[in-house]
């Protein structure tokens, strides 16, 4: 029995060590790589805590995409002048370009503040009731009326539909904001910085059909097992990025309107569902009739996957593409 305990202790020790090294690492590149391993350890933790959906999403988004974004941004920040380590001597560094540099006193102050806060948090967590099943019973009772078997998908796309809709809104807001920063609403002329070679093209040609298969499988799986819109969307994003890298036609070859539409497809579909249900005479807003909810959820999931894939791949391409303006 103490084997799992041993595994837990090892996992937690690894997590804490990686995050400590990650924040304390002198070299920025090393910090980025450690950040990717931190994401992987975290998804390992999710599997241990029986949250397979989250593990899928964390591995793909937390470790994969965040890593790609960080590497892309890091690559853009003139890697060579970064070689010498960041020394904590007071005059060499600055907490913030404008505010003064974190001298000894500042570090001490920060340490005491954070120390006391963490102690308070630990006390609070110890005080938490060790036993409590939250809303599980309620979810399972109304699971059959939600039109979907898998409880997480039911919660996401029916019970708390409003949250998921707003979350896609967050994605759209982020995408729009980044595009405003570039002041142009399309990606057409973004080329990968290096010319793709034949080997990569052939590899990607082979991989693409399998990845499409995986995307559809994950999407269909969402109804009754861990899977669904987010995980499928992220795999789709990975595929699109690979296509772009290898010089094939990816989302950068889409026309402006088509690209914009696919960007907000998920959000717009949910908006449509909300508008219809809100204007429906006797039904309360966002309430799906029993027999229709399964079909509606599936349609929404397809649109959500499409828009998540396009948004996340645009994020990555924007940060990796050669900044030309």
């Amino acid at each position: 029995m103490n084997l799992t305990l041993l595994f837990d202790v090892f996992l937690i020790a690894a997590l804490l060590l990686v995050s400590w090294r990650l924040l304390g690492a002198s070299d920025l590149f090393q910090a980025t790589v450690l950040f990717i391993s931190f994401g992987l350890f975290l998804s390992l933790a999710w599997i241990r805590l029986q949250a397979p959906d989250i593990a899928l999403a964390e591995a793909a988004v937390g470790a994969g995409l965040a890593g790609v974004l960080l590497l892309g941004t890091f690559k853009g920040l003139e890697p060579e002048e970064d070689r010498e380590g960041e020394n904590l001597s007071s005059e060499a560094c600055r907490l913030d370009p404008i505010s003064p540099c974190p001298g000894r006193a500042h570090l001490l102050l920060a340490f005491t503040f954070v120390g006391s806060m963490t102690a308070l948090l630990l006390l609070a967590v110890l005080d938490l009731p060790a036993e409590g099943d939250g809303l599980t019973l309620l979810v399972f009772q109304s699971l059959d009326r939600s039109g979907v078997e898998h409880p997480v998908t039911a919660v996401l796309l029916n019970f708390r539909f409003y949250d998921t809709w707003l979350e896609l809104g967050v994605l759209v807001a982020a995408a729009l904001s980044i595009l405003c920063v570039r002041n142009r609403l399309d990606l057409r002329e973004l080329r990968p910085s290096k010319v793709p070679d034949v080997m990569l093209r052939r590899l990607v040609m082979g991989l693409t059909p399998i990845m499409i298969l995986v995307v559809v499988y994950l999407l269909w799986l969402g109804d009754h097992a861990p899977g669904g819109a987010f995980q499928a969307g992220v795999v789709l994003a990975a595929m699109l990025i690979l296509l772009w890298f290898s010089g094939h036609a990816s989302i950068t070859s889409l026309s402006r309107i088509l690209w914009l539409f696919s960007l907000i497809a998920g959000f717009a579909m949910m908006l449509l569902a909300a508008v219809i249900t809100a204007s429906w005479p006797e039904m309360r807003p966002l309430e799906f009739a029993e027999e229709w909810s399964g079909a509606i959820i599936l349609a929404i999931e397809v649109a959500a996957t499409l828009s998540i894939g396009v948004v996340l791949s645009s994020l990555a391409i924007l940060s990796l593409g050669a900044v030309e303006d």
């Binding site: 837990d8 202790v9 937690i12 995050s19 990650l22 924040l23 002198s26 920025l28 910090a31 950040f35 975290l42 933790a45 805590l49 029986q50 949250a51 959906d53 989250i54 937390g62 965040a66 974004l69 960080l70 941004t73 920040l77 010498e84 060499a92 560094c93 600055r94 370009p97 920060a110 503040f113 954070v114 963490t118 630990l122 967590v125 409590g132 099943d133 939250g134 599980t136 399972f140 409880p151 997480v152 039911a154 919660v155 996401l156 708390r160 949250d163 998921t164 979350e167 967050v170 807001a173 982020a174 980044i178 920063v181 570039r182 987010f230 998540i308 996340l312 994020l315 940060s319 900044v323």
Partner: protein, 112 residues
């Protein structure tokens, strides 16, 4: 899996989550390179999500509680979109610095 075993994993992981949050905040406050700050924020987010998933894992009799898992899924997507935006801003600022060659704040923008 008897009850005490479940109890200890719950406390073990939630304590770890709080330590992660503490480390993340310390990193956020003292690290000065903006890329590091973004990473620290993601570490804090990881810590918070770990706490949520541990509370979901707590009731062992039947399936773990799906609501916190849905919350974490939404949280991950929110975190990645905010991080993506922050990184795009950092890259844009640095691009603007390089063009301008001068540093609006009087010294090299990002020491490391």
């Amino acid at each position: 899996m008897d009850l005490s075993m479940v109890m200890s994993t719950f406390f073990l992981y939630s304590l770890a989550a709080m330590l992660l949050v503490g480390m993340g905040i310390y990193g956020l406050l003292t690290r000065r390179h903006l890329l590091r700050k973004v990473m620290a924020l993601n570490v804090i987010a990881g810590g918070v999500f770990l706490l949520l998933i541990t509370t979901a894992y707590r009731n062992q009799e039947h399936f773990p509680d799906p609501v916190p898992q849905a919350m974490v899924l939404t949280g991950i997507v929110v975190a990645i979109s905010a991080t993506g935006f922050a990184l795009a801003l950092v890259r844009r600022i640095h691009q603007r610095m390089k063009d301008a060659k001068t540093d609006p704040f009087g010294e090299k923008w990002d020491r490391s």
